[in-house]
Amino acid sequence: MSERPLRILLSILGLDQHEAGAFAVARLLRDAGMEVIYLGRFGTPERIVDAALEEGVDVIGLSCHSWEYLYYLDELFELLAARGLDLPVVVGGSVLSGDDKREIEAKGVAATFGPGAGAEEIVARIRDLTATRGAA
């Protein structure tokens, strides 16, 4: 296994302007030794997939404070498949209810983090996800 730190792309989709969660997560991932490629607000599936390819990231992270992600996720998965990218997509955000988590996990989201998810939990889940893939 390489010594390279994990690279996580973080973005917020559409016109969702709330960045609070994304900042906090970016910082906690960096504190855990990961590299964060912060794409910021106004993300689109195209921009995210382009950046994921260009930056060679290990995980795509989406932060949400509106419901736009629900509609963009299908587009994102289609685009990832079309470009032959098999990357775990994780979603965290203040508006993720239990039902929303189940719905998007069924669509293929690898992990979800609702409000109140702790730093350790987030870091551990992301490490797990990438480790499982590395071993596969």
Binding site: G14, Q17, R27, F42, V95, P115, G116, G118
Partner: protein, 533 residues
């Protein structure tokens, strides 16, 4: 909450005595309604009518939102506060490619004069307070002014407010992609226009709510607010505008978090700081210029997705704090706030909470009921000195525009957000149901279904706006587009040109684009749309 200090970090004694109070409110026998207004704007209960009860509202189309307003008014609301959806709040039209999943599901979709006509339809604009949480403010003012004229209301009768957000919006929640000087210009033009045309309207509403609800503490909230107020006042005075022509209509929209006494002290300190600043530093002579109106929203950040019924208790406490602090208008966030813009049921609970605080608990029967409390007076003094120290620190660092463009505030917001996330994680800040007394997902059912209903995006609105744009008089649109572009580069007040453009069927997105082009910025900040020519 840490038991030994307030949320903003003010250390606390086990109890308070006269020895802890250094400020004037107690020593000088200050009474409510007198300078420096620590104890409130007005003294007499007869003149001091209860605060305006309003609730943040707006969803889908303007017509649907108008229905919502009328229902709220029928149930006792005394003002309305319009919230736009994400495209509206970003000054983009519904047909913008990035708006496709965001139209009407987090607020009302507004982009044309016709939308404002439908929004205000049948509302008594000469009696009702119409507040607008619609940055950059200039469009709502221009639209309200035109609609009132169409319907025969004197502009001088219009009451309400708009948020302007010139300094911090690009870094916190409401990015409209305009350069600092253009944002500031729109704010100054709006205030000057309203002072002349709509003298009862609060165009100068300093919104400290949105900057603080990312995690700033109460001291930071008010320090940033005062820095922005001071810059706007200086700029208006430098234009030759008489301070007493606009200062009586300055209002501050504050946040109200869960730290009960600190929030009350913050509001009392804010009134005192404002009064001294306006009279002693800026030389305002009209006593009405010394006492600012305070309006408040209860903190959305303090409300939780987990155990939504707990939010009802939080909102009642915050409403009580605001009543005790003495404010002019209140908006209580709703129990579904963590998930969505308020549903009909959630609106009702918040409105009824306000009515119960006022009419059953009688919290506003006397002015400043906590005045003279050793603790509250001491905390008021401490808030005042900490806010002033931070204002001085920020101003000593240089020009506000340069600080904004240089990212100083952005970093402050980021740090505050991270600090807050850590405080929840390490439990130095307790949220019942989140990091204490949690319930398993399957047990957490009370009010859950009512809190988690979703709004679908209003996709038909996108087609409607596309069709509307295609059917317009292209020559007239082009002419006004060019005129706005030129106006952005010339000194005259922009509000009349914006009003004319709205009447010529230009949209907010197009007006914003023309103004951006006029100051050398790209038409579409996201690079996805072309000018309408």
């Amino acid at each position: 909450m840490n038991h030994r200090m307030t949320q903003s970090g003010i250390p606390l004694e086990p109890f308070y005595t006269a020895a802890h109070v250094v400020g004037e409110a107690v020593d000088t026998g200050e009474v409510p309604g007198e300078y420096p207004f620590t104890r409130g704007r007005l003294a007499s209960p007869r003149r001091r009518e209860a605060w305006i009860h309003q609730e943040l509202s707006g969803e889908g189309t303007a017509r649907r939102s108008n229905e919502q307003f009328r229902q709220l008014i029928a149930r006792g609301a005394r003002g309305i506060d319009v919230i736009g959806d994400a495209p509206t709040m970003s000054a983009l039209d519904p047909d913008h490619p990035l708006a496709r999943h965001a139209v009407g599901n987090t607020g009302v979709s507004l982009c044309r004069l016709q939308d404002f006509e439908e929004l205000y339809a049948d509302l008594p604009l000469d009696e009702l307070t119409v507040s607008h949480s619609l940055p950059p403010g200039a469009y709502a003012i221009a639209a309200l002014h035109r609609v009132a004229a169409q319907r025969g209301f004197a502009p001088s009768a219009l009451r309400g407010s708009t948020i302007l957000l010139p300094a911090y919006c690009e870094d916190c929640s409401y990015q409209i992609h305009m350069p600092y000087e253009l944002r500031m210009r729109l704010a100054l033009d709006s205030i000057e226009f309203a002072a002349r045309e709509m003298p009862r309207f609060h165009a100068f509403l300093e919104d400290t709510y949105y900057i603080s609800d990312g995690g700033l503490d109460a001291v930071e909230e008010m320090a940033l607010g005062f820095v922005e107020i001071r810059e706007i006042v200086r700029r208006l005075v430098a234009r030759g505008v008489d301070i007493d022509s606009f200062a009586p209509r300055i209002a501050i929209l504050v946040n109200c978090r869960m730290d009960f006494f600190e929030e009350i002290a913050k509001i009392r300190a804010t009134r005192r700081i404002f009064a001294r600043m306006m009279r002693e530093e800026f030389g305002a002579r009209d006593p009405r210029s010394w006492s600012c109106a305070i309006t408040a929203h209860t903190s959305g950040l303090s409300l939780t997705l987990a155990q939504p019924v707990n939010n009802v208790a939080r909102c009642a406490l915050q409403g009580l704090a605001l009543a005790l602090a003495g404010v002019q208008a209140v908006e209580i966030s709703c129990f579904d706030e963590a998930y969505r813009t308020p549903s009909h049921d959630a609106h009702m609970v918040s409105l009824r909470t306000q009515q119960i605080v006022q009419l059953e608990a009688g919290a506003d029967r006397v002015a400043d009921p906590l005045g003279g409390s050793y603790y509250v007076e001491s905390l008021t003094d401490e808030m005042e000195s900490r806010i002033l120290a931070m204002v001085e620190k920020i101003e000593s660092m240089g020009d506000l525009g340069e600080l904004c463009d240089g990212g100083w505030f952005r970093e402050l917001f980021q740090n505050a957000m991270t600090r807050r996330a850590r405080a929840i994680e390490d439990k130095s800040e307790i949220q019942v149901g989140v990091n204490a007394f949690q319930l398993a997902d399957e047990e957490d059912t009370l009010l859950r279904a009512a809190s988690e209903s979703k709004l679908e995006p209003c996709r038909e609105r996108i087609d409607e706006i596309r069709l509307f744009k295609d059917r317009r008089d292209r020559g007239r649109v082009g002419e006004h587009f060019a005129r706005l572009r030129e106006a952005a580069a010339a000194p005259a007040n922009l509000l009349p040109a914006i009003g004319d453009a709205l009447e010529a069927e230009l949209t907010q997105g197009e007006i914003s684009g023309a103004l951006r082009l006029g100051v050398g910025a790209p038409y579409d900040p996201l690079g996805m749309m072309e000018p309408p020519l």
